[in-house]
C-alpha cells in the first residue's frame, strides 16, 4: 500500500516542475501563423507581418462546403524596435495567441537584408516555437508584407506557397536554393562561408492582389515568383544572381536535384535539352605559392529530354559528343557563378571552409584576409557527364526514314 501511495505521490511532483506545462493551450485558442514577413519601417524600426490562417474557411473548402465566402488568410502588421516587440504588439490586433511552429517560411525585405541579417535571425533561432527548417526568402520587388497579402486561387494556404513553391522550383528548375534558418545561421556564423538565399518577387498590382477579386481571375492580376539567389558578405546582401549563373551556384553548393540544360545540336543553337537527374559536386581548396587554387569536381547523370534537330541518338559517338558539350556547358555556368561571387568577395560556396578542413594551420593565418584572397583565387573546374538514355525513342520522329 505504501508503495502505491509513493508511486501516486511521485506522479504529482511534475506539477511543480517547469516544462511543457506553461504552454498548455487548447488548439482553438491558437492563431496559426503560416508565414512571417520582416520589413523596414519608415522610422528605422522593424515592421513585422504575420499571415494567420483562417482555419474554418480552409477546412470548409476542404470538405467541399461553400468555400470562398471569406479570405483564407488574414495578415496582421505591427512595428517594433525588436522583432518580438512587434510580435507582442500585434496581440492588440489578434484575438488569439500567435503560434509560430507551423510557419512555412519567413520573407525578409531586401532593404533589411542589405542592412544585415544577424538581428533578424537571432529570434528565429532562439525561440522554441520556431523551427530551424523554416524556409527563408528575400523579397526582391515589393515589401514582404505585400507578398504575404497576395491571394492565389489554386493555393488555399498562401503561406505554404512560400515553402512549397521554393521546393518545387528548386527541384525542377534548379535555379533557386532551398535555404532554411539553419543554413543561413551556418553561413552567418562560420568562417569561410557566406549565406545564399533565394528571392521572391511580387508581380502585378499588389492592391488588387490582396482582395478576394484576385481569387476570381483565371489570370491573377497579382502573383509571386521565386527568382534569383542573393549573395551575402558579412550578413549583408551584395548582389543577385539569376538564370544560368544561379544554377551554377546551386551546382557548386551540391544542391542540384534536377534540371534541364540546353546544348547546341550541330549548327542549331540550344536545340537539345538534357535532363540532369543526378549531380554530385566536390569542392577543393589549396594554397599554391601563397595563391589559393580552388578546384571543383562535378559529375552528372542525365538523359536526352527533347531533341529539335536531326540527330542519331543510337550512336555512341554522338552520345559522347553530347556528354562533352554538357560538360562544357556546366563548366561555363559554374565558372560564371564563381566569377560573380569572386567579384563580390562573397564565398557562398564554402571554399574557405574546405580549406579550413584540409589545412587548419594555414587557415589560421589567412582567415581574416579570406574574402580578398578568395576573390583573386584561381579556379579549376573538372566535369564528367554521362547520358544514359534518350527517353522512349532514339531519333526525332520526323528525322527517321
Amino acid at each position: 500500500m505504501i508503495k502505491y501511495g509513493l508511486i501516486l505521490s511521485l506522479l504529482f511532483f511534475p506539477l511543480f516542475m517547469t516544462g511543457c506545462t506553461g504552454y498548455h493551450q487548447d488548439i482553438d485558442q491558437l492563431a496559426i501563423v503560416s508565414a512571417m514577413g520582416v520589413d523596414k519601417a519608415a522610422n528605422g524600426q522593424y515592421r513585422v507581418s504575420f499571415q494567420v490562417i483562417n482555419s474554418s474557411q480552409i477546412a470548409s473548402t476542404k470538405t467541399g462546403g461553400g468555400g470562398g465566402k471569406s479570405v483564407p488568410v488574414v495578415v496582421y502588421t505591427d512595428t517594433g524596435k525588436t522583432l518580438i516587440e512587434a510580435i507582442r504588439k500585434a496581440s492588440q490586433q489578434v484575438t488569439k495567441r500567435l503560434y509560430f511552429s507551423h510557419q512555412q517560411g519567413v520573407i525578409i525585405e531586401e532593404k533589411v537584408a542589405r542592412a544585415g541579417l544577424k538581428d533578424v535571425f537571432d529570434i528565429l533561432e532562439r525561440n522554441i516555437q520556431q523551427r530551424l527548417q523554416l524556409n527563408v526568402l528575400i523579397a526582391r520587388r515589393g515589401t514582404a508584407e505585400d507578398i504575404l497579402k497576395v491571394l492565389i486561387p489554386t493555393e488555399m494556404l498562401p503561406g505554404s506557397r512560400v515553402g512549397e513553391a521554393l521546393k518545387t522550383s528548386s527541384r525542377v528548375l534548379g535555379e533557386t536554393l532551398e535555404s532554411n534558418v539553419r543554413d543561413v545561421v551556418h553561413g552567418l556564423t562560420d568562417d569561410g562561408i557566406e549565406p545564399a538565399i533565394s528571392g521572391i518577387e511580387l508581380i502585378g498590382k499588389d492592391e488588387q492582389g490582396q482582395s478576394m477579386s484576385n481569387l476570381q481571375e483565371s489570370r491573377p492580376v497579382a502573383y509571386t515568383r521565386i527568382n534569383g539567389i542573393a549573395l551575402f558578405r558579412d550578413g549583408k546582401l551584395q548582389k543577385w544572381m539569376e538564370g544560368n549563373t544561379a544554377r551554377g551556384a546551386v551546382t557548386l553548393l551540391d544542391r542540384l536535384k534536377n534540371t534541364v540544360v540546353n546544348i547546341n545540336c550541330g549548327d542549331k543553337k540550344d536545340a537539345l535539352a538534357i535532363e540532369i537527374t543526378h549531380a554530385r559536386t566536390k569542392l577543393g581548396a589549396d594554397m599554391n605559392k601563397g595563391k589559393p587554387v580552388l578546384t571543383v569536381q562535378m559529375a552528372f547523370l542525365g538523359n536526352v529530354y527533347e531533341a529539335d534537330c536531326p540527330i542519331q541518338l543510337n550512336d555512341q559517338e554522338t552520345i559522347d559528343r553530347l556528354q562533352h558539350r554538357l560538360e562544357r556547358e556546366m563548366k561555363r555556368e559554374v565558372l560564371s557563378a564563381v566569377k560573380t561571387a569572386q567579384k563580390e568577395k562573397c564565398d557562398i560556396f564554402g571554399f574557405g571552409e574546405t580549406l579550413h578542413r584540409s589545412q587548419p594551420q594555414r587557415w589560421k593565418t589567412i582567415r581574416n584576409r579570406w574574402n580578398p584572397i578568395f576573390s583573386k583565387a584561381e579556379v579549376r573546374v573538372r566535369a564528367k557527364a554521362i547520358i544514359d538514355h534518350a527517353g522512349l525513342r532514339f531519333d526525332p520522329f520526323w528525322s527517321s526514314k
Partner: protein
C-alpha cells in the same frame, strides 16, 4: 478511536454467534433407530419439500425396514428408480427368508445396489453432505451406518459453443456449469494417466467442488503445492464463481492487471496443461482459471496455434498495437491538442482548429464526456435483452456520432478518437486485460491533460515498473520478455511453426522441457524412391 473499537468488538461477537453454519463443528454419529435418523434428517434440512424419503421393508424372518433418502432434482431420477429402488425391492426376493438382520446390511451394500459408486457414511455431516451432493442415502433400521450411492444427475445445460472466446478455426465446445462435464472435456483431449485431478470443497455454506488439474511430470511441483496452499487458505462461506477464487489467491491484491488467466474453452485448458500450467476448475461456472498467467498470454488466442503461423504472428502484433491504442489514443489526442501543437501536421492542425472552434469544452472534458458516454452505452448494450441491445447501440452510435457533432458538443475528430479506442478495445482477445485498459485509459487521459506527453511517458514508466514487479505464482509477469528468455521468443510475439516449438516455456514447466523430436520440418523427399524412378 473509541466508537470504532467498540464496533469492531461487536462485530466479533456477532461472528461468534453465526459460527454454527449448516455443518456442526463436531460431527455426531448416526442413531440406531431408523425413524430417529429420518426425523433428524428432516429436521436438519428444515423439512425442505424437495427432500424425498422412501421407506420400504423386507418381510423375512423378521421385518427389515429400509429408507432411501435423496433430494429431488439433484439426482438422476432414472438411476434412482432403476438401480436403487428397483433392485432394493426386487433383489433377493427369493431368499429373503434366510437373510438375517445382521447380514442384511452387508448384503445390500455388496449385492443389492446396481450403481457404481457406493460408500459407507457413519456421521451426520457426511450424511447430510452426501444428500446435498445428489447422492442417494440408504438407511437401515438398527444400523448406525448409511450407504450413500453416487446418483448425481439432474438437469444440466448441454455443451454449447463458447461465447466469450470465439474462434473461426478450432473446436466449438465450451465448458458448462457442471464440473464433471468440464473435467471430462479436458480428459477427452489429454488421454494420459499423468493428467491428475485433485478436488477439494471450498465454501462453508456452498461446499463447492474446486478441482486442480495438472499433468504430472510436466507441471512444476512447486506451483502445484503453492496453488494448493493458497486454496486451502480460503475460509469463505461461498464460492459461486471462479472469480471468488481468483481474487482470493492472486499474487498482488490491488493490481489492475490479471495474474490468472480465465477461459471457457477446454482446448485452451488442455494446451496450457501441456505447457506445464495448473488449471483450477470450479463447479457451477463455465469459467476455469489457469496459473501461472503471464502478460503475453493475454494477447494470444487458441486459434494462433491452429492457423497459419504467419498470420498468427501478424495478428499478435496487431493485438499488442490495439492494446496500446485502446490505452493511449484519447490521452495522446488530448496531449497533442493541448500541449504539442507543433507535432500535428499543419494541414491536419488547421482542420482540427476549425473543428474545435465553437466547442464549449476543453479537449480533456470533451474526451471525458465521450468516453464516459461510450462506457454507459456499452454497459447498456450488455445488460439489455439482445434485441433491445442492438437498438441501443444504433441509437448510441447516432447520438454519439452524428447528433453530438451537429449540436456542437464535440468535434468530429473526438468521435473518431473514441471510435478508434472502442474498436481497439474490442479487439482484445482477453476480456480481463481489456478491462484493465478501460480503467487505465482514464488515468492516462488525466495525466495527458495535465502534463502532456511528459506525463504520459511518466505514467507509462510507472505502469511498466508495476508490471515488472508483478509475479504470477512465482513466475515473473513480463517473462519471457523481462527476464528475457531467448528460447521462449518462439512463442511470445511471434508464433513459430509447430515443428520448431520444440521446448515448453522455460520458466513455467522447469522440467520435461522437450515437446517433440528435433528435425521435424516437413520437406520434399531428397530423391525419388526407386519405384518412381523405374516408372519413368
Amino acid at each position: 478511536m473509541r466508537p470504532f473499537e467498540r464496533q469492531k468488538r461487536r462485530k466479533k461477537k456477532k461472528g461468534k454467534d453465526q459460527r454454527g453454519q449448516v455443518f456442526h463443528e463436531e460431527s455426531s454419529p448416526l442413531f440406531h433407530d431408523l425413524q430417529k435418523n429420518l426425523n433428524k434428517i428432516r429436521e436438519e434440512l428444515g423439512h425442505s419439500t424437495d427432500l424425498v424419503v422412501r421407506e420400504f421393508e423386507w418381510d423375512g424372518e423378521r421385518k427389515i425396514r429400509f429408507a432411501a433418502v435423496y433430494i429431488d432434482g439433484l439426482v438422476d431420477n432414472n438411476m434412482v428408480g432403476d438401480f436403487i429402488m428397483k433392485s432394493l425391492m426386487l433383489e433377493s426376493r427369493d431368499d429373503r427368508q434366510t437373510i438375517s438382520r445382521k447380514t442384511a446390511f452387508d448384503r445390500v451394500q455388496e449385492n443389492g445396489l446396481a450403481v457404481g459408486e457406493v460408500k459407507i457414511t457413519r456421521d451426520w455431516n457426511g450424511l447430510i453432505l452426501s444428500i446435498l451432493c445428489g447422492e442417494t442415502v440408504i438407511l437401515m433400521d438398527g444400523w448406525d451406518e448409511a450407504i450413500s450411492c453416487g446418483t448425481k444427475g439432474g438437469e444440466k445445460r448441454p455443451i454449447d459453443e463458447p461465447t466469450s472466446q470465439v474462434v473461426i478455426r478450432g473446436p466449438r465446445d465450451s465448458f458448462t456449469e457442471s464440473i464433471r462435464t468440464n473435467t471430462a472435456l479436458v480428459r477427452r483431449r489429454v488421454k494420459s494417466p499423468n493428467l491428475w485431478l485433485e478436488t477439494m470443497r471450498i465454501g462453508k455454506v456452498t461446499q463447492t467442488d474446486v478441482s486442480l488439474m495438472y499433468i504430472k511430470g510436466i507441471v512444476d511441483e512447486k506451483i502445484v503445492r503453492e496453488v494448493k496452499n493458497r486454496l486451502e487458505r480460503i475460509q469463505i462461506d461461498s464460492i459461486l464463481e471462479s472469480g471468488y477464487i481468483e481474487e482470493m489467491i492472486r499474487d498482488s491484491a490491488f493490481s489492475l492487471f490479471p495474474t490468472l488467466y480465465m477461459t471457457e474453452r477446454p482446448d485452451v485448458i488442455a494446451g496450457n496443461l501441456l505447457e506445464g500450467r495448473v488449471a483450477i476448475l470450479v463447479d457451477g461456472t463455465p469459467f476455469a482459471l489457469v496459473v501461472p498467467a503471464l502478460l503475453n498470454q493475454f494477447f494470444q488466442t487458441t486459434e494462433d496455434y491452429y492457423q497459419n503461423y504467419w498470420i498468427s504472428g501478424f495478428l499478435r502484433f496487431v493485438r499488442y498495437g490495439a492494446f496500446l491504442l485502446s490505452l493511449l489514443t484519447p490521452s495522446l489526442y488530448i496531449a497533442a491538442t493541448t500541449f504539442h501543437h507543433a507535432m500535428i501536421p499543419t494541414t491536419f492542425l488547421i482542420t482540427l482548429v476549425a473543428q474545435r472552434e465553437g466547442i464549449p469544452f476543453p479537449a480533456f472534458v470533451e474526451a471525458l464526456i465521450m468516453e464516459l458516454m461510450f462506457e454507459i452505452l456499452r454497459e447498456a448494450g450488455i445488460r439489455l435483452p439482445r434485441p433491445v441491445g442492438q437498438a441501443v447501440s444504433i441509437v448510441g452510435a447516432i447520438v454519439l456520432g452524428e447528433a453530438a457533432v451537429r449540436a456542437g458538443l464535440v468535434s468530429p475528430a473526438m468521435v473518431i478518437v473514441v471510435a478508434i479506442t472502442a474498436i481497439a478495445s474490442f479487439s482484445a482477445p482477453s476480456y480481463n486485460l481489456a478491462i484493465t485498459a478501460r480503467l487505465l485509459r482514464f488515468l492516462f487521459m488525466l495525466v495527458g491533460a495535465s502534463f502532456g506527453l511528459f506525463g504520459i511517458a511518466l505514467l507509462l514508466i510507472v505502469v511498466l515498473a508495476h508490471l515488472s514487479s508483478l509475479r504470477s505464482f512465482g513466475v515473473p509477469y513480463l517473462s519471457p520478455l523481462a527476464p528475457f528468455v531467448f528460447s521462449d521468443q518462439k512463442d511470445t510475439v511471434f508464433r513459430f511453426p509447430w515443428w520448431s516449438l520444440i521446448t515448453r516455456p522455460r520458466l513455467i514447466s522447469q522440467k520435461n522441457m522437450t515437446r517433440m523430436e528435433k528435425d521435424l520440418r516437413p520437406s520434399p523427399p531428397d530423391k525419388p524412391t526407386e519405384g518412381e524412378g523405374n516408372e519413368k
